[in-house]
């Protein structure tokens, strides 16, 4: 099957499984949105009436396919709680989450690539050993804890950065960045470790290749050999890990948005769960699933950008 078709099939399968599964899980959660909305003192008749109004009295599968039908036409329904269209709620919060994830990736790659390059210059040397220990330390730290440590260091002790809250870009780029630095560090400082280790090990393999020897024989200085010859052919596992990590990154973002009180999609989702706002949860999860597949698709495209051999195989007529 051509590559593009395979990607599309993957998208459809993932979406179907994920949405059906969430629908089922959300439905067996204890608690009832009607009670949440009406309060504990509501009469059983009131509750039954509201449930009928919301369409909750129909069998689950019927409701699921109903939801799926409108979801496919771009309508994710309206929040049970406040009637806001789910699509609109997501669109409002998406920029915050996207900015968080992009900045976290920048932090992670911005640390991982230079550290890997520096550590392969003398494998087993001082820098290599220190960076390996540092990576191990960060890797062992849960992100909520790292978040709290960072808040303590940068906001409480030195008062350099805001501890929580979000400033939109419209109120000034610097203020906006300031409010995002700690959250992105919280995610990125953990992610760089894995990226650095795989890049380092692939670099070491590449550096033994004949074409590296040939580059050295041309008289290229060591740093040019590393950057111009070794880095690109060593980056394929890194990219695979980037793709695989997207799930973890989204999960991390949900937690980090909570810690730092960022109004992102993750907080929308958690709020929905607490309120038993099924339709909001359902829509948000479906959206995240699409995002996951789309980002993986983009990551997969990167292979083709970086490796002409992949380009050759994929886009042969």
């Amino acid at each position: 099957m051509p590559w593009l078709a395979r990607q599309l099939v993957r998208l459809v399968v993932v979406l179907f499984c994920v949405t059906l599964l969430t629908y089922m899980i959300v439905n067996i959660l204890p608690g009832d949105v009607a009670i949440v909305i009406l309060g504990n003192l509501a009469t059983p008749e009131d509750i039954a009436g509201l449930r009928a109004d919301l369409g909750l009295d129909r069998p689950m599968l019927v409701r699921y396919f109903d939801w799926l039908g409108s979801a496919l036409s771009g309508d994710l329904g309206r929040s049970y709680r406040n009637g806001e269209p789910v699509v609109q709620a997501i669109i409002d919060r998406l920029p915050v989450s996207l900015q968080l994830m992009v900045m976290a990736q920048v932090v992670a790659l911005g640390i991982a690539i230079p550290v890997a390059l520096l550590s392969v210059r003398r494998p087993g040397g001082l820098f290599d050993r220190i960076s390996a220990s540092a990576a191990f330390g960060f890797l062992a730290m849960p992100n909520f804890m790292l978040g709290i440590v960072l808040i303590y260091l940068f906001s409480v002790s030195f008062d350099l950065l805001p501890a929580t809250g979000f400033t939109p870009m419209s109120e000034g780029l610097w203020d906006n960045l300031e409010s995002m630095i700690l959250p992105s560090l919280t995610l990125g400082l953990i992610e760089w470790t894995v990226l650095m280790r795989v890049l380092r090990s692939d670099l070491l393999t590449t550096l033994k290749e004949d074409f590296i020897l040939l580059a050295r024989a041309k008289g290229l200085p060591p740093w040019r050999v590393l950057l111009q010859h070794a880095l690109r052919p060593s980056s394929f596992t890194l990219i695979t890990i980037l793709g695989l990590n997207i799930g973890g990154l989204i999960g991390g973002a949900v937690i980090v948005e909570q810690i730092f009180a960022l109004p992102g999609v993750g907080r929308l989702l958690l709020g929905g769960i607490f309120n038993r706002d099924l339709i909001l949860v359902q829509g948000t999860v479906a959206f995240i699933a699409v995002g996951f597949v789309v980002i993986n698709f983009l990551v997969d495209m990167l292979y083709a950008v970086l490796d002409p051999r992949v380009r050759h195989v994929r886009f042969r007529s």
């Binding site: 290749e209 074409f211 040939l214 024989a217 008289g219 290229l220 111009q228 052919p233 050759h312």
Partner: protein, 334 residues
């Protein structure tokens, strides 16, 4: 030309390379010396594992401390001691004066860089060409090494070419900066039999036309026969016989060389030959004996051979490492 008239272009004295392995130190190259004069070709011949690649790679700094190897001896290039140069000076000699072609063009070209750029890279670095001029020169070089449609090929990646074409590209890279010395490390071993001769002819043609000196490494005496002035036979990391090519073929001294010659088919296409015709296997370099390393496979072996290692003896402009050389001793002459 440069230097004194009789000074060799490359002079190697007592080259040593050892690796530390799990089984102890492994002496891959053990006291090899040779001279190479401008415009001449030295064939280095020996079985797989005899240390040919490690020797030449250590000469140009590709095997060394950075790869965990211990390197010893002296390497003079145009009278300059290469091992005492600063890294920067060394790279500049390497980039401008010495070109190398590796065995396998599948692995010696960067898979994610366009051919033209790989050829032009050295020119930009060492000859100060701008990228346009380097690209133009790369196309000329592709043309020179016999690649049709050079403009189009320069824009391609290595995987879009056949093995023979890739080796032509590797040759173009090696000669790009007009080096005085070309090292070809088994340049045809990985190629189809049909293109082996073309590649060898190309190398020889370039060498003659440009007046380069060449080290041609092969495990096939037949390849070295018509294409080298002198031959150095290596066995277990040592030079065991050195002589002018025609001397070697007329009367080999060392029993190993003799065995190599005997395993050559007389008439047929010499490039087919495998050296497996000699019974036995080369010794384990991590467990050297005190005697001649060829002794276990030698038909002329005596107790003396097991007790002591034969030194490389120079007699009348040629050298051999054997206590019972062929064609010399009254009792041992063939």
């Amino acid at each position: 030309m440069s230097g004194q008239p009789n000074m060799p272009l490359l002079s190697v004295r007592n080259a040593q390379v050892s690796f530390s392995t799990a089984r102890g130190p492994l002496r891959a190259v053990d006291g090899v010396s040779f001279d190479l004069h401008e415009g001449r070709t030295l064939g280095i011949v020996g079985e797989s594992g005899s240390g040919k690649s490690v020797l030449v790679r250590s000469l140009i700094g590709l095997v060394g401390e950075s790869s965990g190897a211990g390197v010893g001896g002296q390497v003079l290039f145009e009278g300059r001691d290469l091992r005492s140069l600063s890294p920067r000076e060394f790279r500049s000699v390497l980039g401008t004066e010495i070109g190398i072609v590796f065995q396998d063009p599948m692995t010696s070209l960067n898979p994610v860089m366009k051919i033209g750029r790989q050829i032009g890279e050295g020119l930009r670095l060492n000859r100060g060409l701008d990228s346009k001029a380097a690209a133009r020169r790369a196309v000329e070089l592709l043309n020179e090494v016999g690649i049709p449609e050079p403009e189009r090929r320069a824009q391609q990646y290595p995987h879009e070419m056949s093995g023979g074409m890739r080796q032509r590209v590797a040759i173009a890279i090696a000669i790009a900066c007009a080096p005085k010395l070309l090292i070809a490390d088994e340049p045809t071993t990985a190629l189809d039999v049909t293109v082996q001769r073309q590649i060898l002819d190309l190398l020889q043609g370039e060498q003659r036309q440009r007046g380069m000196a060449m080290i041609l490494i092969t495990h096939d005496l037949g390849v070295a026969a018509g294409r080298s002035d002198d031959i150095m036979v290596m066995y277990a990391g040592r030079a065991v016989e050195t002589a002018a090519t025609r001397e070697i073929f007329r009367s080999p001294r060392m029993p190993y060389t003799e065995a190599l010659l005997r395993s050559l088919p007389r008439l047929s296409d010499a490039t087919h030959t495998r050296l497996s015709a000699i019974p036995g296997r080369p010794p384990d370099l991590a467990r050297r004996s005190g005697g001649c390393s060829f002794a276990p496979r030698c038909t002329y072996r005596t107790d003396h051979c097991d007790a002591e290692q034969p030194p490389l003896t120079m007699v009348g402009g040629r050298g051999y490492a054997c206590f019972h050389p062929r064609g010399v001793e009254p009792g041992g002459a063939a």
